[in-house]
Symmetry: C2
Subunit: 383 residues, 2 copies
């Protein structure tokens, strides 16, 4: 009744989004969500930062008053140094999804088409509904987003406002966009005047292979580089950032002034102290944990379900994206048997219609014992 067309146009939670919100029966091992491990969250460091904040009268009052829509200066400076850009190009957001939506509302006209990873992190097409639902799927290969495919579609007449991809440790496909393809994607965007929305929440979580670099992304005035502390310090903080081309800073700030004024001064004051404390050590601890978990999961699958999956060992991030090798297995029936056996994951179909033979296992927030037991239960489902 009397809703805006915007509000009426938003789809109800379904597939991945619905599954992420489901509470499975007690005892079920959840391989559902790309959450950081509770043991990897720097609770002690955050507690220290927080205590220092509230014991400093000036800082405490500043944390309770309004602050800049751009974000805290020292925090932006720290991020800018890591990103290798001028601090003015950094805008602090309320986490990754907020950054993506600000980007979409700023550069994706209503009804425009956006090229999107296929398979895709389903949260992005969902968020994209604030502007449009016209998606041009672009396959993700072992070395990431298929830039040639997109170039071909554009040559054939497709017009896009933006291209969305997760460049590092793709969700769900594990892939990292290769350095040559980063360059090619940026050149394509500059030639055809669309924006690249590079969504990079897993970037810090590398435990194998070679970093493919972000300098080429941050050097282009056609790239909006979206990141967040969600996977390193915790999603509950709701603190992330955008690396914006200079000419988009004012438009994003103008929008953000209306939407939510600024990110909490309290959480920014805490994060600012935590990152300038011992951030790399904290992240290193988390990454070691994720490496071990990925290895345990892969080993257990090879041991208990030999030959059942085509598996690529993760180089980082929080996901394994194995493919069923036996075409005789019905993935939907397997999923039902897995849930009955006490393990739950995201079926591949939730990430795009052509991915039904994949399974997404999120291993980051499960212990090695849980992961081993999860594979045993999966073996029961196969039996």
């Amino acid at each position: 009744m009397d809703l805006t067309s915007l509000a009426r146009g938003l789809s109800a939670p379904a597939g991945f989004v619905e599954a992420s919100q489901v509470t499975p029966p007690p005892g079920t091992i959840r391989l559902l969500s790309g959450l950081p491990a509770p043991e990897a969250l720097p609770v002690a460091a955050i507690g220290r930062a927080s205590a220092a904040l509230w014991q400093d009268p000036d800082a405490a009052v500043a944390a309770l008053q309004y602050s800049s829509p751009h974000g805290f200066t020292a925090l932006r400076d720290w991020i800018a140094e890591r990103e290798g850009v001028d601090p003015h190009r950094i805008v602090i957001t309320n986490g990754g999804m907020h950054g993506l939506t600000l980007a979409v509302l700023t550069v994706v006209e209503r009804g425009a088409t956006v090229a999107v990873d296929d398979p895709a992190f389903p949260g992005f097409p969902w968020a994209l509904e604030v502007s449009t639902s016209a998606v041009l799927p672009v396959p993700v290969a072992a070395d990431g987003f298929d830039v040639d495919h997109l170039a071909g579609r554009i040559a054939a007449g497709a017009r896009i406002a933006a291209a969305y991809t997760v460049p590092d440790f793709h969700n769900p496909a594990q892939a990292t966009l290769s350095a040559p393809k980063r360059q090619a994607l940026v050149e394509l965007a500059e030639r055809h005047g669309f924006y690249v929305l590079a969504d990079n929440p897993y970037r810090e979580l590398r435990f194998a292979g070679q970093d493919q670099g972000v300098a080429v992304l941050n050097a282009s005035d056609r790239v909006i580089h979206v990141n967040t502390f969600t996977k390193t310090l915790g999603p509950g903080l709701r603190v992330g950032w955008l690396v914006l081309p200079e000419h988009l800073v004012d438009p994003v700030i103008g929008l953000r002034n209306r939407l939510d004024v600024h990110t909490s001064s309290v959480t920014q004051a805490i994060v600012e102290r935590v990152v300038t404390d011992d951030y790399d050590k904290m992240v290193g601890h988390a990454v070691a944990l994720y490496r071990e978990r990925a290895e345990v999961l892969v080993s257990a699958l090879h041991e208990h379900l030999p030959g059942r999956f085509e598996i690529q060992a993760p180089e980082g991030g929080l996901f394994l994206w194995p493919r069923l090798t036996d075409d005789g297995i019905d993935p939907a029936a397997l999923f039902q048997r897995a849930v009955a056996a006490g393990v739950i994951y995201q079926p591949g179909e939730y990430f795009g219609p052509s991915w039904a033979r994949h399974l997404r296992f999120a291993y980051g927030d499960r212990t090695v014992q849980e992961l081993t037991e999860a594979v045993r239960r999966l073996a029961v489902a196969f039996a």
Copy 2:
């Protein structure tokens, strides 16, 4: 270049918005912004709540993980009890402006007309640009928003999607909407099918006069009641709430899922502990401070500038809205002389073209010494 029509349609900061961001010369006494007094912010209580949070391992991890888009349960329960509504109707927001924008995006179609207080809190028409810039000004009298005027305009053919007013301690006009006019406004909205956006950040700050009640607002499925902890616990937290009609809860949550997922779990965990600690005492302390400041300001104006202003003593809130009595005085020249004398305020013209003979003095965050000195400097500007 390649901005959305939404981004292109946002106006640059001007008037009030620009003035709020200006840094005047050192030593200038700022009567500019409706900020809470630093001394009234419950830093100690927030420090205690925060320490308790980070020392509780389960609560700490929960505060760093995702939480519900609706908000923390105990916080919603506490708010719901004070508002006298079912907790399901409460959605926690990132402060008042975020609540207003969520409301606008949900019920104000692009290009629709919205009835707005005249004079208006300039932040609202500014935020309204995310949907429309079509405003129907409705005069604010001593007893608030002129409901009869709006009824007349509607009878004459005006069609509105919503009506915006600040019911308690109006910004800038000080007025509180009388109980009969609250009832009349709700009836008008129900009869004609528009929404009332009741923006109520000053509600807790009453130090004189009679509360006019919010039950009639919260009982209607045509009212979105917007509030925030900004004026009581501090704007830097960015924690507020909406009291929504039942049928708008899901649409607002759907939108909010895309815009920013949820309000920081960290700030919610802190606020939840603070409000269930000794909230009424904290607010009582702040209100006593504001009462004293309002009285000092009014007395000093009577003493040092007798007869120069038509003054209504505030019953609460953070603003005085005096009117120049001498039509021979040029308000713009007075403002320049005041700034030169070392005091700055918001000229009435920023709140609407017919209010140039008013001045808005924000007294909440100034000490009694500063307020007295500000009036002495103002007397210099008059001399």
